[in-house]
Amino acid sequence: MSVADSNSVVHDEAQDTSDLPPTHRLSAGEWARKNLFNNWYNSLVTVVVVCGIAFAVLQTLGWLFSSDFLIIRRNLALFMIGQFPRDELWRTWVSGYLLMGAFGIGSGVLWRSAQADAEEKGLPTESHSWPDLLRRFWAIIAVLIFFVSFARTVPPFVALAGTFVVFFVSRELGRRFSAAVRTRGLFFAGLLGLLSLLVLAGSGGLVALTVGGLAGVWTLSEARRYADERGVGSPEMRGRSRRWRPPYPFKRRVGGALASRVAAVVVGVGVWFGLRTIDLGGYGWEDWGGLHLTLFVTVIGISAGLPVGILLALGRQSDLPVIKGASVIFIEFVRGVPLISLLMFSWLMLPLLFPIDLDIPGPLTRAMIVITAFSAAYIAEIVRGGLQAVPRGQIEAAQASGMSAGKIQRLIVLPQALRAVIPAMVGQFISLFKDTSLLTIIGLLEFLQTSAVANAQTEFLGQGLVTVTYPFVALGYWAFAYTMSKESRRVEERLGVGVR
């Protein structure tokens, strides 16, 4: 408080206020006259709107007090995680804690490096205080607390508060990381995130493979750092560990690079096999449901769709007619048909495309394949906009300095293009988040479908309780989408996209 006061004092002294027009705070009456009753029709409109709002508030209050929220209290777990086995609930909580820890460390590290970056360039640093975070995420926090308050028991409250505590503690931890280990912090956050999946889904198959891969990459980066610090390999390589390297003769770099690659492969494969043999025995995503499934499908759709989308966008920009044609046909086809028809495709047609001696993957896996293709087509169009926004001179300068076509795209064009489309990408994320509700139609238990399942329970059947469950679900969707759109606007302002 005292800091804010002293700031305002400094501000007042710094500005000579004598030649500015006098400003005075409007009193309530003056404000109302200016903003609500400035002429006869605005007064009329105000009165009508006030009456309407009063009516709506009365109706809502009446609904709140007359409705029976038992259906929500009984089915809170159904809304959040679907039909996940109830005696294994500890998995979801542990997974949630790990995920919050990952978010915390990630955001702390990112904040710290953004601050260091800004200090280096002499820019004003952005405040990331606790109240600031609370203001940015108030919708999600408020709705989560609202949801949990339906449980009418203490443990969920404590557990939810615990996740927030974990988030803030790990965020502080992430902020304390020194510059040298910041990349490690990000790797660590990524591993924690994957670990949270591991607890939930068990360590067989894909997740173990991904954890192994990430561990391998991490080892590679650590080994290269070690090699740089010890001066193994060529002297020219120092300080370039994570960058592209010029092709030095094999003999000079063999000392550092080959060893680090071998180490990476050994660690990666070791972790993979280790996880497979331990086998935590969880439940794969075909058993997931509720809000958790909705968020998971959205994240997978965007992150798997992004690389495909970038390739499609580059293909569409290509001069080669075959590549361009194939990309255009795919993009326009997917964008021209409704997502429902694609989901029906995944439900009925995709099973027919697998080899006859292969087991058909489950409906959710098939739906995720289609959703990835769907989001890839939309992302491709977004990225294309970013590619067109990169000035032609950038490419020409890169060509003049003798870079190859691939390198121009990778080092010059794509970084600029992707930076410019971050807000649009968040918009696509929101729209995919809303579109996952269509999984209902092919009978998957996502967030919207949980409402129907709850209403089909014998206890609540045929009582018209959708009037209670639908607003509840709508609030959940709204909180996440609203927060994300706010965040995208913030990023947009910070990047200065759209400011000409």
């Binding site: 709107v49 080669l320 429902i340 759109s485």
Partner: protein, 423 residues
């Protein structure tokens, strides 16, 4: 799969070899100097040809592999890949539609496309109208209106359209205060029963043609032409003499006067039909089923929140000097929007609006969730009767592709007309 990949590599090598040999022969025949040409592995022509052959080869290989899997599986379950099933009886009966369930699948699909078209036809103009109003309200001088419009936009933009549809249907329309049961006796009948609002249908009066109705329709078309003539004439008067044109009023008067005159001249060529309900059977008049109203209203509410943002952005993008000039000319608020701001704003807003129209069209397929008999719903119904899925999916996608194509062609034509020439 391995065999196919080998085939692909062979084909690639062959094509490249043919290209190189062919070029060599042509160079020799035309006696071209090739000393400045880079070696084939650095020649851009060769490389781009190779890249394209590889891509095409990969697509063909993967496509052929999928197709053979598909044939294996369809043969195993005995699925025939023909369109003969379209003539079989559909087994679908659509509410308020004379189509019998013995009619062919082809006819049922036609009705579905018609219903999709009806959702689009009424919904798009309504959502533009509503969205524009909300967009203007977001910039209102009235604080309360502004906040209300913002709350509306921020809420509906951030929830799924499917949720809006099922909520409107399940939580609002099925609990419609008038008529707790689907019998029409409990319905609300304003205007002496000429309109009926119940929780199964909305009914409005319609027109039934009697004798001379065909001639009357022709005459109405003629009077519409006359009205356009009057419009042009009033515009001419306004441009040359400066008297107020009032062309909308004049044209409307022309149509009404001529229409009434012809009505009496032909001795009453039509009569109004009132909807009647006897023993739960609805007849006469123009009837809207509740699912139709629910889908359309939900999509209008959802789409309007997006259109409002587009309109708001476009209004803000209109040059500030234009608004100031209209203030200087002492135009009223209505005149300012009607003559200065909106025409320019819509020029800016139209391209993103086309996108919203396409989204609206695609979202109309969500009607399947509440069983309104449009294209997707009917096809999903046919899936349930184990009609062949691959062909039906193909039909479904092609129908929506055609809808999208037509809408974007119309949109682009209109857009071209809207944009300033030579700008």
């Amino acid at each position: 799969m391995l065999g196919r990949l080998l085939l692909l590599v062979t084909a690639l090598v062959l094509v490249t070899a043919v290209f190189l040999v062919g070029r060599y022969v042509i160079d020799k025949v035309t006696r071209r100097d090739t000393s400045d040409r880079p070696p084939p592995w650095r020649d851009l022509n060769v490389l781009s040809l190779a890249a394209q052959v590889v891509t095409l080869g990969l697509i063909v290989t993967v496509g052929a592999w999928l197709w053979s899997n598909f044939r294996d599986r369809t043969d195993a379950i005995g699925l025939e890949l023909t369109f003969d099933f379209l003539d079989q009886p559909s087994g679908i009966s659509i509410a308020d539609n004379p189509l019998s369930s013995n009619a062919g699948i082809r006819d049922a699909l036609q009705q579905g496309v018609k219903n999709t078209f009806l959702i689009i036809l009424l919904g798009i103009p309504l959502s533009v109208l509503f969205g524009t109003l909300v967009g203007i309200a977001r910039l209102s001088a009235n604080w309360l209106v502004r906040k209300l419009a913002t709350a509306y936009v921020e809420f509906f933009r951030n929830i799924p359209p499917l949720l809006v549809i099922v909520f409107l249907w399940g939580a609002v329309f099925l609990n419609f205060p008038i008529g707790a049961s689907p019998t029409a006796e409990a319905a609300w009948r304003p205007f002496g029963g000429w309109m009926i609002f119940s929780n199964s249908r909305f009914a409005f009066p319609s027109i039934i043609g009697l004798d001379n109705f065909g001639i009357y329709q022709l005459l109405i078309v003629a009077s519409l032409v006359a009205a356009v003539g009057v419009w042009v004439w009033r515009t001419w008067v306004f441009n040359n003499k400066g008297t107020p044109h009032r062309r909308a009023l004049w044209s409307l008067a022309t149509v009404v006067v001529l229409g009434v005159a012809f009505f009496f001249a032909l001795g009453g060529p039509f009569e109004f039909s009132k909807t009647t309900v006897e023993n739960r059977v609805w007849s006469g008049g123009f009837r809207m089923q509740m699912p139709y109203v629910a889908v359309m209203m939900a999509l209008v509410i959802y789409t309007a929140s997006h259109i409002a943002e587009i309109v708001r952005g476009s209004i803000l993008a209109v040059h500030k000097g234009q608004v100031e000039a209209s203030h200087a000319l002492a135009l009223s608020g209505l005149q300012r929007y009607r003559f200065v701001i909106l025409p320019q704003a819509f020029r800016i807003a139209f391209p993103p609006l086309i996108n919203q129209f396409l989204n609206y069209t695609k979202n109309s397929s969500l009607a399947v969730a509440i069983g309104f008999a449009e294209t997707t719903s009917i096809i999903s119904n046919l899936f349930g009767q184990s009609q062949p899925a691959p062909q039906l999916l193909l039909i479904l996608m092609v129908i929506y592709l055609i809808f999208s194509l037509i809408l974007s062609v119309i949109g682009n034509l209109v857009n071209r007309r809207l944009q300033l020439k030579g700008a």
